[in-house]
């Protein structure tokens, strides 16, 4: 099972590496996505029957929590693979993207999937670190894809800031190893998560406290928690829209997953509110910082990046509340936010393809030009700002009731204030893009049928998660939340 999950993206990367035909590249990547998603569902099924799945040598390991994130990542990858042909197709026709660049794009996309899955199935926390750093390296050239001044600048900042962040996380991993090697002896086992959990109570708490700060800052940089988020608007803004979508829907959750693993360990070892208080502090900062930047934004991709900062803040907030209900809310929000981010980046990506700009004011009257895409976009804006009947309404309500239930009254009120303000700003900009007077005469240019179907399907998924959550999904999320409880 592990070999299929990790092997498929590598095979996909090799196939993309030796081909330049556009069709083959597209089909190979979509096939990778389909098989990866099918495998992840299969793994989830197995895990829900026997709770954990470990490879013979114990290096790889999956439980309900990792299986849940694997499904999100594989699903987001499939959606990205389905959307890329339309987005890049327009640019190939315009001649801005060459065949060679296409090969690089699809090859790196597959490697990117591999690195994310590698993080999620690693039992060894050292491997988890290696995988996370590899995600930065795999996406570096995807961010710099257009080779313009601005995209090179974004990619440079992205690699430098994330590498520094992740170096700090490595220090946290070294300290964790220090704490555990004195209990279980110096061997690779001392970094195995399963081993660490079994000796959690014996680990030196003062060392773990320091380790957690470094891990949180490090992986928090990858997740884009403020104040370490500064690479995010640049990288998301400059990367091709499908890549931004996959980073906001997949990579963010992978980084949050890494934080969660350490959180579970430290929470269990210390038995106090130390770890959750740190998470709460960072999450409030992320939420409050996103607000002004979203209200004055001129560029819609950067607007979406700050929305990503905000939602990472919301998920971290939920984890920091540290109650079983809040954990369920956090996981649910991971799933919902991913789908919403894919919808937003894809629909605005198509608009960018038509209008050839990222400036909000220059995109106007999209409803006349591309009615389906524009409708999906405006509904996705309602969804991402927490309106019923979409999934994010349910998850934010869950988090909110967990917040009030656990007595964090002022923080919860603050949370309501943030999401209301952000809705007003977001809706103001989006309504102009969709309904405003056309900036200049624009011929109708709707996306191709496959892209329309993809967008509608993702929106339906978000609707189903909002109004009629299948019992299978909610049961599985309950199981994953149990893992976080330790």
């Amino acid at each position: 099972m592990f070999s299929v999950l990790l092997g498929i993206p590598l095979i996909g990367a090799v196939v993309c590496g030796v081909n330049t035909k556009r069709r083959i590249l597209e089909v190979a990547t979509i096939a990778t996505g389909v098989i990866a998603l099918a495998t992840s569902l299969w793994i989830a099924r197995t895990v829900s029957e026997q709770s954990t799945l470990t490879s013979p040598k114990g290096l790889l390991f999956v439980d309900a929590l990792s299986a849940f994130v694997i499904i999100i990542v594989a699903g987001s990858f499939l959606a990205t693979a389905l959307y890329s042909p339309e987005y890049l197709g327009r640019q190939v026709q315009l001649g801005t993207v060459s065949q060679k660049q296409l090969r690089l794009y699809y090859g790196l996309l597959n490697i990117f999937l591999f690195t994310m899955l590698f993080v999620l199935v690693s039992n060894n926390l050292g491997f988890l670190w290696i995988g996370t750093e590899s995600t930065t390296l795999a996406t570096a050239f995807l961010v710099a894809f257009y080779e313009k001044e601005s995209s090179l600048e974004a990619a440079w900042k992205y690699v430098i800031i994330c590498s520094v962040g992740i170096a700090l996380a490595l220090f946290g991993v070294i300290l964790t190893y220090f704490a555990s090697s004195s209990v279980v002896g110096s061997s690779a086992n001392a970094l195995h998560w399963t081993v660490l959990m079994s000796v959690a109570k014996k680990l030196d708490p003062s060392v773990l406290r320091i380790a957690f700060i470094f891990v949180l800052v490090g992986f928090g940089t990858k997740a884009g928690l403020a104040p370490m988020h500064t690479w995010k608007p640049d990288a998301y803004g400059e990367a091709p829209a499908p890549v931004s979508g996959l980073m906001a829907a997949g990579l963010v959750n992978v980084a949050l997953y890494s934080i969660l693993r350490f959180y579970i360990l430290v929470h269990k070892a210390l038995g106090d509110a130390y770890a959750s208080d740190l998470l709460l502090a960072l999450s409030l900062f992320s939420m409050v910082l996103a607000v002004p930047f979203m209200l004055v934004q001129k560029d819609f991709k950067r607007l979406l990046s700050y929305s990503s900062v905000e939602h990472v803040g919301i998920i971290t907030f939920a984890i920091g509340l540290a109650t079983p209900l809040a954990y369920v809310g956090a996981l649910l929000h991971m799933l919902n936010n991913s789908i919403a981010k894919l919808l937003l980046f894809f629909s605005t990506g198509s608009m960018r393809g038509v209008y050839n700009t990222k400036i909000i004011r220059r995109v106007s009257g999209a409803m006349h030009v591309m009615p389906v895409t524009a409708t999906v976009f405006i509904l996705a804006v309602f969804a991402v700002t927490g309106w019923p009947p979409f999934g994010l309404f349910v998850s934010e309500l869950t988090i909110l009731s967990a917040g009030f239930g656990s007595g964090n009254i002022w923080m919860s009120v603050f949370f309501i204030g943030v999401i209301t303000t952000i809705f007003l700003g977001f809706f103001y900009y989006a309504s102009g893009m969709v309904w405003g007077e056309p900036y200049r005469k624009q011929e109708p240019a709707e996306s191709d049928t496959m892209t329309q179907l993809l967008l509608v399907a993702l929106l339906l998924l978000l609707l189903i998660l909002g109004v009629a959550m299948p019992s299978g999904v909610s049961d599985f999320i309950q199981k994953a939340a149990k893992v976080i409880e330790g």
């Binding site: 060894n124 050292g126 491997f127 670190w129 290696i130 750093e133 590899s134 930065t136 390296l137 570096a140 050239f141 710099a144 080779e147 313009k148 001044e149 601005s150 090179l152 600048e153 974004a154 990619a155 440079w156 900042k157 690699v159 430098i160 590498s163 520094v164 170096a167 490595l170 220090f171 991993v173 070294i174 300290l175 190893y177 220090f178 704490a179 090697s181 004195s182 110096s186 061997s187 690779a188 001392a190 970094l191 030196d204 003062s206 060392v207 406290r209 320091i210 608007p233 640049d234 803004g237 400059e238 930047f293 004055v296 934004q297 001129k298 950067r302």
Partner: protein, 225 residues
Amino acid sequence: MTFLDIPTGAQFIDIFAAAILVTAFLIVSSKSLVFYVRLFALQSLLLGGVAMLVVFAYGETHILIAAVLTIILKAIVIPIVLWRIIDRIKIRKEVELSINVTVSLLICGAMVIFADSIAEPIRNSKQVLNPIAGRVFPVSIAIMLIGLFIMMSRKKAVTQIVGLLTMENGLFLSGLSITYGMPLIVEIGVFFDILVAALILGVFVFRINRTFDSIDVADLRRLRH
């Protein structure tokens, strides 16, 4: 297999660690890109030396491969790559400072004292410490902090790469001092990542040079808000 007795080994490790700290300070005080790269190579060589001493004095053979990799990759391969970059793109060879050398050195001196206080909880930890940890661990934190400082206060792209690599040297030293290094399989993965990161950044330097006609990171300021 111990070729050295432990007290002698520990003494050598102390000397090497101190020398690494000196190279970090010399990097901060240097104004020439060429010196940056040479000093970094020397620093990595000394770090490889510390790892070798851990192998031969303490019999921690699993670190041998990491020690050899440090010397080959960080003291030879990466410096040559950086050297080529500096040579090929004909950049002005002086480092541009946003904080002058005197103030920089004072700040780094303060960082050493700060590092010592960060290391305090580890030194006081109930766990059994390696004989070298008490002295070398604070030094490793100081080197990490100085690496971070180089990245923030020096504007050339190459200096940022050297800063990042210095930080990672500090990390490796901290691992050596408190745990005799991470498990081998993890260490190799970390090395691979660092090498790829340095190469990718090197490629970016070329491209930035092509599009901006300079590798001054201060020119990278188009993206705001």
